[in-house]
């Protein structure tokens, strides 16, 4: 095979591969979403003091029926660079339920306390890495 033909073929292959890589690169990146906690509707009660899951929750008065915990995680967003995202794992979102216990719930809740009832996993949030597209 003539050397020029081999060279041309190699170049053609190289450009084709590069073009394919360019075309398949999604140009996305992982954007960090900070963890958050949000309080649900509140029942008339004494305040909440809770420690657990590495956080402290408190309200001066009123007992939130639930508190949702969203962990730090990532979203996929468009990127100006030739990058893509790769899933690395997941973190769990949790929901904590509370209830207002009164010592003597007759008419006036004279002594009431907002107590932890149960907590549950209620969602999976991705942990992503941003990687350069191959061949870029």
């Amino acid at each position: 095979m003539p050397i020029r033909l081999v060279t041309a073929s190699c170049l053609a292959l190289l450009f084709a591969a590069a073009a394919a890589a360019q075309k398949s690169c999604p140009r996305t990146r992982a954007e960090r979403i900070a963890g958050s906690e949000q309080y649900g509707p509140s029942a008339s009660c004494s305040g909440l003091v809770f420690s657990g899951h590495g956080i402290k929750l408190s309200t001066a008065t009123g007992c939130p029926l639930f508190v949702t915990l969203i962990p730090e995680h990532h979203d996929v967003v468009p990127s100006e660079s030739a990058t893509r995202v790769e899933p690395m794992g997941a973190r769990e979102g949790r929901i904590l339920f509370f209830t207002c216990q009164t010592d003597y719930l007759i008419v006036i809740p004279w002594g009431s306390v907002c107590v932890f009832e149960r907590d549950l996993a209620w969602g999976s949030y991705p942990v992503l890495a941003t990687l350069p597209c191959e061949g870029q």
Binding site: P41, T61, G62, P87, A90, Y104, I108, G123
Partner: protein, 501 residues
Amino acid sequence: MAALPPRHEGSRRRDAARLLGAVALPPAAIAAALALIVAATPTAAPDAPAASAPHDAPPAAAAAGAAPAAPTLPREAAPPATTQPPAASFDEAVAELVAIGQRTAAFAQDDDHAAASASDQLARARFAALMAGFPDAGEQALRRLVAAATPLAHGLVQGRDFVLQLVVVAECARRADDADDGGARAPLEHFVHDVLAAMPASPAMAAVGARALVRQPHLRLAHESAVLGLVELAGAEQFPREVATGLLLTLWDNLERHGERSSDALAALALLLLDGKDGSQRAAACRHLLREARYRALVVDALRRSADRGFVREVASLVASDLPVDDALGVLADLGPALGRAPHAYLVCGHRAPDAVADAYRRLLADDVQPERRVDLVAGVGMVRSPTGLDVARTALAHDRSPEVRLQAVFALTANADPETAMAALLQAADDVELTAARTRCDGLVFALGNLERQADAAAMDRATRRLDALSLSADGRAKLAALRERTVPGEPTAAGAGSR
């Protein structure tokens, strides 16, 4: 602080009845208490035993006999306080109420419900007497709350603080009633000013004020500058922002309701604040405008353009808790990508009206559109412990084409279904090729299995952990699964062993 002039006894007795209603008592209980209040108001029939009562019943029970709901008490349950003279000072009256409360607690702890109920009725009567006996009860309570070094600091409501809070709330209601009956409005306005002025003293005082004023009819035009002052403090992070937003929204609602500002004027003000820098004002403006269909598109558009997703989420939470649920779901749908995932807002909607959230999900499922929103809808209704939530979760697991939605259904079922149903759902998901194609979803199944840790038996946990261990988990997911297995399957391989299989 302003003090009310003394009033005649008929007015006091009527006030006592109203105040108990103002402290959010159940209607049936209020009916039962009215007879007691009349009997126990000091000037009418001081605390001497009722002569007409049966000899084996306490005075309170005798009075309560007039009301069908009142309990019949055994002799030994007679609250001793009925024979004591009225308290001489405000502090003594508060202390007496606390003591009655403690006695009530003791009765309740001994499961003596009749005695606890009677003691509680006495507390209600004494509370009414306190309010009738001290025309400036609100001011006195407010002074004591502000002076307390760390009121409510321990999270538990201490008896004294609780009584003082009740007095503040009841004082607002008493003066509002007087104003509504044609009396002067100034006493109420002065007291509300005092409450607003006390609120920055501490987060606990902010909460006391919020309880008395937020979503109540007392804030009016006269308080606008004070409320805006608190909003300003919130902007400087010196006052709880959610309380400031609540006060501002309450003020606007009241101004509109009482014709002190027209709907158009308030909307114009809200529109001005929509692009402001203060978070409380912007959030209040958004929520106010979103109530009206004619402004909804405008606000949604402004929120869509906002780069601050946290703020959009804050407004979404306000919308979810304040607007009618169908309207709230509409706004959440319109916000779309600007909101992103918002399971909390949907959970609030699901808590308020699970059927509305279920219907919204079923519509999207039928059209097979908006899979991300379907995830949040299933989370919103599925995590609420209700037959509707379980039904939606089963439907989603069986019929939804989105693997993310099916995973969310597994979370709901492991949270609220019986252990057998939940475990079957989890194993079904583990066999779902599409669902398990993504490592993050495989990890999600491990999280969901954790919900069954305390319910499922060891054999079921053994089977499930082995099945999930065969999936493509992340290192963290595998470690979590191994730890779960270690806790629930006695004598089985530890984290390292499970991870190496």
